[in-house]
Amino acid sequence: MVGSPGLASRLYSSTEKGPDRELIAARNGGSVKNFIVGCLAIFLAATVLTLRVGSAQGPYDSQAAMSNNSSDPRDLSGFWALSIDSRQIPPAVLVPTVTKTAIEKREKADQKAIRWCNLLGMPYIMDPGRPIDIQLGKREMVVFAEVPASPRHIYLDRSAHIDPQIFDPTTNGDSIGHWEGNTLVVDTIGFHPDRGITAIPGGGFRTATTHLVEQYQLLENGALLSVKFTWSDPKVYKTPHSYEFHYYRMPANYEPPPGLPCNQYDDLRTQFLGFTPAAVRKPSDVPGAR
């Protein structure tokens, strides 16, 4: 025989006739057991694998539901909460045209937005006083909380902003994101200059020319989310204004309580906020008016 004598001889032996084959079979008596054990092992392994795959949407893992970390360095999905030690905000350096009067005018506008339950937008949505929900989809990442605000849509499937000639400015702007290593970099323009709460932590406010860059990165094995915000706007900031939030990951089984109502027609609330209740207009005498 040419080639591997061991394998060839075993193959050859198994086809031999006569007493030698019987002797070989007698010697191989123990391997039958091994064979059966091996098959059982395969069977068990397949069963375990089947059960694991089948349970992808099967029994709820209550232990995992208590977890507040993640081994995936890009797993931003989950509920995140800011605490008393979560904000690192230096004072902003403003341009001279942003006077005290201009700031007070903005503050009044922000109070009016609260009084009328307007959609509050960025940057309020990132620090709304209750946990925010981040969900990472295939096409976009959404950020929202049960407060009067539009959800933030951060698009991951395009590298350019919507043409400003087409895009209608919003309280959250047009956000696009991409990964640089395990950091999600988000670029936002297209802010509405007046709608919602425009105040930015540390000083200043958003305008139509504001540009925001954010960097999302998981820390502490996914238990913490660092978001670095950098605001640029030649009309507001002398130098780019940066600050950082550390969000704590909530347990996987967390469910947010319902959003609190915001009723712009509640006179007590209106007066509490320092405004005079507005008279409700009577609907005209036409069909469908209410």
Partner: protein, 293 residues
């Protein structure tokens, strides 16, 4: 001591037994392998059916399949709900209309008589909605029965998020969690859980607030279950949601109807923001009639 012949005979007998054992073992092993393969195949199939349909993610707008031309006509083909007396009682309290907006307080202004339509002079607007923007954020009964506003579905690892253009979002948990116990909750909060069946998102919701506002004059109570089936067409451009309300105490038979949607186009699509500022008089009034020729 065994002689040579008896040794051969013993070996021969032993060999026959062992050959049989080997045959049995082989059959056994092949059966086990076959079973293993079958289980693995089934597992693979289950994996396919449980895989979220990524086509679900995207921007959707409701379609007018009745050619009704106005929002009121969109539900014209929804069959009337077959209610029990208890269901009828809720319906009569809620009204049989197409559904309110769930505002936080009842209207304070006097209702319009609605009987006569008075011509308005050029440039004279009339008030259609006395308390505009009330009940925002949210639309379509909290993302259950979407109206004319676009909405956006995001399929995450543990949630499907229904994001609205008027603010607010609805969460559908797809991580296998059970519904919370809401039986003793003074203020029940709806809870939606879902799973994928052959790419169709099947959602079960409990805890809907008691009331009406459901197409076909249907109602909700503390024990009502809503099942929704989100099914995207193979080309990914259309979607239908089949709604089924079940509650033996309120319905003689489950109440079912279907909404249809188109994916927003052309790409790149993105979410609008539907702004409503109740401090702006324009929000509640009609368009201003132009000067007549």
């Amino acid at each position: 001591m065994i002689s040579g012949n008896s040794f051969k005979q013993t070996v021969g007998t032993s060999s026959i037994i062992r050959n049989k054992a080997m045959s049995v073992a082989c059959v056994c092993a092949l059966s086990l392998l076959g079973l293993s393969a079958a289980l693995l195949t089934r597992a693979a199939q289950q994996d396919q059916t449980s895989t979220p349909n990524i086509l679900l993610e995207g921007d959707w707008v409701r379609t007018d399949t009745n050619g009704s031309g106005d929002f009121g006509g969109l539900n014209a083909n929804v069959a009337k709900a077959q209610l029990t007396p208890a269901g009828e009682a809720i319906a009569s309290r809620a009204g049989r209309g197409r559904g309110g907006r769930g505002g936080a307080t009842p209207p304070a202004a006097a209702p319009a008589s609605g009987a006569k339509e008075t011509p308005h002079a050029a440039g004279q607007a009339y008030v259609l909605v006395s308390m505009p923007c009330n009940g925002m954020p949210g639309n379509g009964m909290g993302s259950f029965n979407p109206d004319s506003g676009g909405f956006h579905l995001i399929v995450g690892k543990t949630q499907v998020v229904w994001a609205q253009e008027r603010g607010g979002s609805r969460i559908i948990y797809i991580d296998g969690r059970p519904h919370p116990d809401i039986t003793n909750s003074a203020h029940p909060v709806y809870n939606s859980t879902g799973h994928f069946e052959d790419g169709v998102l099947v959602v079960d919701t409990v805890g809907l607030p008691t009331g009406g506002g459901i197409p076909g004059g249907a109602v909700r109570g503390p024990n009502t279950h809503l099942t929704e089936r989100f099914e995207v067409s193979p080309d990914g451009q259309h979607m239908k949601i089949v709604y089924t309300y079940s509650d033996p105490s309120l319905y003689v038979a489950p109440h079912t109807y279907t909404y249809t949607f188109d994916r927003a186009a052309p790409a790149p699509t993105y979410a609008f923001e539907e702004w409503c500022d109740a401090s702006d008089p324009i929000e509640g009034q009609s368009i201003v009639p132009p000067a007549q020729q």
